[in-house]
């Protein structure tokens, strides 16, 4: 599924990723944990092609296809979805319009027919209800005036509508209260599937109580410094990141 080999990346001239190697097979959920400044968000942006990040060495591929050679929208059409830590507000573009535009752009890129309006609305109603999102909210400007929790739910709704192959969740738990965290986690868990992989980036172990990972990796100073089973997350919660930041430095 997702294969990252010796990935190096810089922002400006500053090296942030210094040789990340990671494999996430289809059907698995891997968590990336690490202290602030370890390069967690950088990894998610490099994988999705955001401007300002330069890959200086290494590779990243999805099902054997080189991601780094593709435009951000092409990567999305191949099935890469990033749930943003801070989802953008898009005034003047209703959420429904935005999602439908995205879905149809992806379908066109894959040579598929566009989705018909009635089928799209039916799907949107169904998915919104599952995430306890008031359908009327989807007629307003995307994320405009939404609370942190509402924005995160809107990310999960987009995920459910676009049905990507590989999900990257960047600090999806930040700014969520317990109720919102449960709803969001249920939404993510509903997307677990044998042909779908997930990378869950988080600072805290809390999210991993709800979205149970198959593997946990520790990212510190731009490298994966430790990997293990779900128990590693609990160990980090108890001991902190000190031992890794010291070791990485």
């Amino acid at each position: 599924m997702l294969s990252i080999q010796n990935l190096h990346a810089t922002v400006g001239d500053k090296p942030i990723l210094k040789g990340v190697t990671l494999d996430v097979p289809a059907g698995q959920v891997h968590a990336i944990m690490g202290p602030n400044g370890a390069g967690k968000s950088t990894l998610s942006y490099v994988l999705t092609g955001r401007g300002g990040y330069e890959v200086t060495e290494g590779s990243a591929s999805l099902n054997g296809e080189d991601l780094l050679a593709l435009e951000p929208n092409e990567r999305a059409a191949k099935g890469v979805f990033l749930s943003f830590q801070y989802p953008l507000e898009i005034p003047g573009v209703p959420a429904l319009t935005f999602i439908r535009t995205a879905l149809n752009a992806q379908r066109r890129a894959r040579g598929e027919d566009e989705i018909a309006a009635p089928a799209f609305l039916k799907l949107a109603k169904e998915k919104a209800a599952a995430l306890k999102i008031d359908f009327e909210m989807l007629k307003r400007g995307l994320n405009v005036g939404f609370s942190g929790g509402e924005k995160k739910r809107m990310e999960i709704l987009q995920m459910a509508m676009l049905s990507p192959k590989f999900l990257i969740l960047d600090e999806t738990d930040s700014g969520l209260d317990i109720d919102a965290l449960k709803i969001v986690s249920e939404g993510v868990n509903a997307l677990r599937a044998p042909d779908r992989g997930m990378l869950v980036i988080t600072h805290y172990q809390r999210l991993l109580d709800y979205i149970k990972p198959d593997r946990v990796h520790v990212l510190a100073a731009g490298r994966i410094v430790a990997s293990g089973g779900p128990e590693l997350a609990h160990q980090l919660e108890a001991e902190g990141y000190d031992k890794y930041t010291v070791a990485a430095a």
Binding site: T48, G49, R50, G51, E71, P72, N73, R75, A76, A77, F81, L82, F84, P87, L88, I90, P91, G92, V93, F98, I99, T101, A102, L103, A105, Q106, A109, G141, Q158, L162
Partner: protein, 343 residues
């Protein structure tokens, strides 16, 4: 060489003289030694005409201004078209509109270039009676080589409502100016604008709102998108005269510049001579938000489509404020079409 031009410019050499073959026996230039002042707008009562009883609709010119007397009753929609149809020719028109107290008028005004390189000058006088309500939509669609000046003098009575949206795509030189006499007294004004400019087009949207009495409200939102070497100009002046307390005036102008050589010049002015007023203006000029573009692309929307979507949404905020449903739909389609050309 016409009288109208000479009257308009005060330049007597513009008058036809006996050296002009068609005027050789009716010399005006030899006759008129000083230019008269322009006739003022006349909003007062006019005595009934001789054929009023025979006509269903009457178009009345007063002091050189054609006057539309809005029918009483709600929902009066009037289309007002100014068409320039001759290449290289210049013309001026004036028109006066009197909106009777407690009536409503939707004025759908279009300036249409159907030839190249013309000059057009249109002056409107709009008098809005007590408690009356006017929505004016102005769509200015000129030829790239045209010179077009549109000026409206709007005079409001107490309790009147005047809302306006000007949509322009520029010309070689183009200016749409609106001057509002605001009496306060719960009169309510909204002046909005949209400009979409490409190539070397120039558009100027100028407004002057003068608050003369207490309790007046003015809201303004103008947004523009410029690309290539186009130039947008926004001048918004709000004057609050002494004694015009409790005035609430808010002005916003926001522009997107999509190319290195495009230009936007903005001059918001608040001239406040009264106490206890709420006045504010906001003015921003910049590019599209890169983060928003990346967000849309991450969801699969190609860059050009993302830019078009965000640009249209940017202008959509103004278009959405148009109250008349049909006019709003036409304005939205026009903006989409112009943006498609400008991208």
């Amino acid at each position: 060489m016409t009288l109208a031009l000479a009257l308009k410019t005060g330049d007597l050499t513009q008058l036809p003289s006996r050296r002009d073959e068609d005027w050789r026996w009716t010399d005006l230039r030899g006759l008129i030694r000083t230019a008269p002042p322009a006739s003022p707008a006349f909003d007062g009562e006019i005595a009934p005409g001789p054929f009023d009883a025979l006509a269903a609709d009457t178009i009345l010119f007063v002091n050189g201004r054609q006057r539309h007397a809005a029918a009483s009753g709600a929902g009066d929609v009037v289309a007002l078209r100014f068409v320039s149809a001759t290449e290289g020719a210049g013309h001026a028109a004036t028109y006066a509109i009197v909106v009777e107290p407690d009536t409503t008028l939707v004025l759908l005004e279009s300036h249409e270039g159907q030839a190249a390189g013309y000059m057009s000058d249109v002056t409107l006088d709009i008098a809005v009676g007590e408690g009356a309500r006017v929505e004016r939509i102005v769509l200015v669609d000129d030829h790239a080589e045209a010179i077009d000046i549109v000026t409206a003098e709007v005079d409001l009575a107490p309790g009147a409502t005047y809302v306006q949206t000007v949509l322009t795509s520029g010309a070689r030189r183009q200016r749409v100016e609106t001057r509002v006499n605001h009496p306060g007294a719960h009169a309510n004004v909204r002046l909005d604008g949209v400009y979409v400019l490409d190539h070397q087009r120039h558009a100027d949207q100028t407004t002057v709102v003068t608050h003369g009495g207490v309790d007046g409200v003015t809201g303004q939102l103008t947004k523009g998108v410029v690309t290539d070497q186009a130039r947008g100009v926004f001048q918004g002046r709000i004057v609050v005269q002494p004694g015009a307390d409790q005035t609430d005036a808010r002005m916003g102008h926001h522009a997107l510049i999509l190319s290195d050589k495009a230009e936007v010049d903005a001059k918001p002015e608040l001239l406040i001579f009264a106490d206890d007023v709420a006045c504010a203006h906001g003015n921003t000029i910049g590019a599209l938000d890169d983060e928003a573009i990346f967000y849309a692309r991450q969801r699969g929307i190609p860059e050009a489509e993302a830019r078009a979507m965000l640009t249209q949404a940017f202008l959509g905020e103004v278009v959405e404020r148009i109250e008349h449903d049909g006019a709003r739909a036409i304005a939205a389609a026009w903006v989409a079409q112009r943006l498609g050309r400008a991208q």
